[in-house]
Symmetry: C2
Subunit: 577 residues, 2 copies
């Protein structure tokens, strides 16, 4: 949005540079006629483009209304409160003698009327407190200043400076930020009463009038905002948390599918490289969950002002725990982010090796996403976890992946370049091995003896095949590159073209080994993701306990009801294949 502000400003600045019509009146008649036609055409074009942009704006407005009808309701409510307050002023009711200060009532409606009820209450409270305390202080100072006699004006001016200084300084203190608006109202009220009172000598009248009219405006706001189609910040927070869970689940699945189908970025969108919003569904999924921190905090700040309503039945409802659950989810989302980093990286594991772990990786991904979706549904329906351990499946899948990695870890390393292997052939680098501690050396000795018998040529051969198949695979990459894409990180390029002592072959091997290790990284990040799920479940259970979620509906009874269809479907599937 800040960018938009900039662009508008630029537009405003560039207006000055426009060619002004009607500058060339001194030209010949013929040209005049042409110009006239021209200018008429220009005017027509302008009208057409104006109408077009009007239709465009209308279209956008309709789309916004469809995507969130509450916005239309809110705008209508705002219009209604303004009408109501205007009518009260027109009809000079209910406080006839106050109507010359009606501006405060309008101001209150315009300022206090917010989208959610929590925000309205919070602002109303700020406004009330600010007005009330400033009013009291102003009356006290006014009494004092009258006693001061001829120094009255000086006293008033000094008091305004001191109060202005203190209130402004206090509102800069970090924990005072939610009361920022209250401090502003405080200052305004104090100055207004002092100045107005000095002019009219009606300090008390001014203060009371102002307070009553603000109360009137706030009353109209609250009645209309709460009684007609209330919009709750708490509900928004609840939905936001659910949405975050679903987004991370989608991202996780997307990451693993892309990794296994080897869809690489030919060029990484530059927006991802500078962490701005981009269209990539995998990226935007976890990004929205990571970025929602401030939105959650704001919604929580409003939600705690809201009275019990709908399914949120208790006073002191644990809104904080919703934010906690979302924070725990974020801790998981960072692992999905790191997984995505493996896809973004230029060093990629060969496709064939990925396929060896396909089943296990996919299973962990599916089970992980299932857990996240299940939790999302539980939060949505406000249900506790059942007696079944929600994590057992995903933990089992992760264990399976781990043991597969364990059994096949030779695929993750490049045995040919092991120091112990080459040492048997080349009798160089004694310094290096001397530096190692004794225990290490022992292993090396053992290894080097045994390794000498180990024929590694076949592995090397296959590695090269893997590598070339990886290069051949490039044709599978996403084909069309939009112009806003940026050149990819030039890491392996550096490795290949750097002119130092290492021969080219060794570097290729290093690249190869790095590429194989990248698969190990992907698996261990995925396992770490699974480990972090426990934390989310713990946070969820705490929320369920504090918010009094209902016990889950008996699953077995539901399954029993669905069983015949289940069997029928399975049978049909069996017949099909």
């Amino acid at each position: 949005m800040a960018i938009r502000q900039g662009s508008l400003r630029e537009k405003l600045l560039s207006v000055k540079g426009y060619p002004e019509p009607g500058l060339s009146v001194v030209e010949s008649n013929d040209e005049d006629l042409q110009r006239c036609c021209c200018s008429r055409r220009v005017i027509c074009d302008k009208i057409a483009s104006f109408v077009k942009s009007l239709i465009d704006v209308f279209g956008k407005a309709v789309r916004m209304g469809r995507s969130d009808p509450r916005k239309i309701v809110f705008a209508a409510k705002m219009g209604l409160s303004l009408v109501l307050i205007s009518l009260l002023i027109f009809l000079k009711m209910p406080l006839k003698e106050l109507s010359s200060h009606y501006v405060w009532a309008i101001l209150t409606v315009v300022v206090v009327f917010e989208f959610s009820i929590g925000a309205t209450l919070s602002k109303g409270f700020n406004r009330g407190l600010g007005t009330f305390s400033a009013g009291g202080l102003a009356l006290a100072t006014a009494e004092l200043s009258v006693l001061a006699g001829e120094w009255e004006e000086v006293l008033i001016v000094i008091s305004i400076f001191i109060i202005g200084f203190l209130a402004t300084y206090a509102k800069l203190y970090p924990t005072m930020k939610p009361y920022e608006y209250g401090f502003r109202v405080f200052l305004l009220t104090y100055c207004y009463i002092m100045v107005s009172g000095y002019r009219t000598r009606e300090f008390i009248h001014t203060a009371v009038t102002r307070f009553l009219l603000i109360a009137l405006g706030a009353g109209v706001c609250l009645v209309i905002n709460i009684c007609i189609y209330p919009i709750w910040a708490g509900e928004d927070l609840h939905n936001l948390v659910v949405k975050n869970f679903r987004n991370v689940a989608t991202s996780l699945e997307g990451c693993i599918n892309r990794y296994l189908s080897c869809i690489e970025y030919e060029r990484v969108p530059s927006k991802i490289l500078i962490y701005q919003a981009a269209d990539d569904p995998v990226y935007s999924g976890y990004r929205s969950a990571v970025e929602s921190t401030s939105q959650e905090d704001a919604l929580m700040g409003f939600a705690i002002w809201e009275p019990p309503h709908g399914p949120y039945k208790s006073f002191k409802y644990p809104w904080k725990n919703y934010v906690k659950v979302s924070g725990a989810l974020r801790h998981c989302a960072f692992m999905v982010m790191a997984l995505h980093g493996c896809i973004l990286s230029e060093i990629q594991a060969p496709e064939d090796r990925r396929q060896v772990f396909r089943r296990e990786l996919q299973r962990v991904g599916i089970e992980g996403a299932k857990v996240l979706r299940e939790l999302a549904n539980k939060i949505k329906r406000m249900e506790k976890l059942g007696p079944v351990d929600i994590l057992s499946e995903v933990h089992e899948a992760a264990e399976e992946l781990q043991s597969k990695v364990d059994r096949k870890s030779y695929l993750l390393v490049n045995a040919e370049s092991w120091e112990i292997g080459t040492r048997a052939k080349v009798q160089g680098e004694p310094q290096e091995s001397l530096k190692l501690d004794d225990e290490e050396n022992e292993v090396l000795e053992y290894k080097s003896r045994s390794e000498a018998v180990l024929d590694l040529r076949s592995v090397m051969h296959t590695n090269w095949e893997f590598h070339s198949s990886n290069i051949g695979m490039n044709s599978r990459r996403i084909p069309d590159i939009p112009p806003e894409m940026k050149k990819q990180i030039s890491w392996p390029a550096r490795i290949s073209f750097d002119a130092d002592a290492m021969p080219h072959l060794e570097k290729s091997k290093t690249y190869e080994s790095a590429s194989a290790l990248s698969l190990a990284t992907f698996s261990s990040l995925l396992i770490e993701f699974v480990a972090r799920l426990q934390n989310v479940v713990d946070a969820f259970e705490e929320l369920g306990e504090k918010a009094n979620f209902k016990e889950p509906i008996d699953q077995s009874a539901m399954e029993a009801a669905l069983l015949p269809i289940g069997w029928w479907t399975r049978l049909r599937r069996l017949l099909k294949f």
Copy 2:
């Protein structure tokens, strides 16, 4: 801050529950006396605690002022503008007949006076535009409504509803968010002029008066805010980006040092698990860089309003590129976050194995942090990069690490559990190998033949030693656990205590292998971090180009000047060792 708001509200609610003094007057005299003493003591205590909290608040205020003296200046400027506007009203100058509407001038000062000049200009523009357009529209509607005769009131009320609806609906459109304040002012002005004009029949007078007084208030604001000790949002943005670079560098170094000295979290602070601010320096370093997105956007939104000043000499200064550089840094910071994840994880590589890579890991860490600090200094001094490639050292270090990992990758895997090794002994699981594609099978056959000769007992033995030394190492962990710490993720616990078919020994091995792979993960994340640095350097170069950074001071000349001292120091060091 939202939490604070909550706590205040809770405090306010709990006030009701206080025991009221003076409820027990019907008791005996003796008790009365005691009670009197008691209440006197209570009052004394209360006064003492009040004085104490007052001193506390004062201390906090002094500390805030010391850490950022601009806050004091800003508060004093605010006081000064209020005094100035009050004096203008007192002296009934310069527009005598307007002084009955002085409230608008005070309101403008209170609302428009913001911390930075950009913010003040942006708000002032919003206020001016809102007032001006609403004034025009209101006058037009007023003319129309007069023509409507007896339907005038109906027309006014309907117009208020329509304008209220449209303006509120428009401000909800996402790209309109920076103009939110403008829409509010628009609504207020429109309603005020309509209502006031209807009452006094002085539509034009009201509109013009209001506009002039707002202009007066805004003028006072701008003059004081710009002429006395100006505070620029652009400068803040510049410093914020520099600070982010330094924080990430500190985090990176901290991560690597902790990893190498095996300082593990006995219990991970629960704040990290739910991604809230915590004291941990490694965590807070990268967190502040990751979390500064919204602050940067806000500062950029203000900075583009600021006229050229100080070192930012051009119109259309590329503030956007500062945000871009910071975004690219954030992309790196996510890798530091993932590195920190390796320390947070319960599955840890054995210390002895980490020590094998100590020199390389440390070098990458030091060089990486050096690059970040160097970039921070360059941005701070607004200098371009020199002819020397800033990344050459860190790339070399990363290559060294990679080749070390390559040579010693047998330390990263657990060869004893390789399928191909066990197959030679156990003739089981033929299904598994059948599923693999032919090429894979070929490798396995080759491997199994060669592996049969390979003596793996020694590796196994040493692995167990590593493992036990890892357990013994626990005594090095941070000893005291504050109560707000939470139980760690129960991942390996699950593995050990789960009662399924796998025997206990195999599980331990799986854990062991996972722990060794964690070292591989750490290294490859570190290498990915280095790869992402290129992206930061690119963004920096773009910034340097667009913002016209100066050419760097000739380093060799400076070094030549420093050379004698350098040599002397080196000599001394040589003599010392």
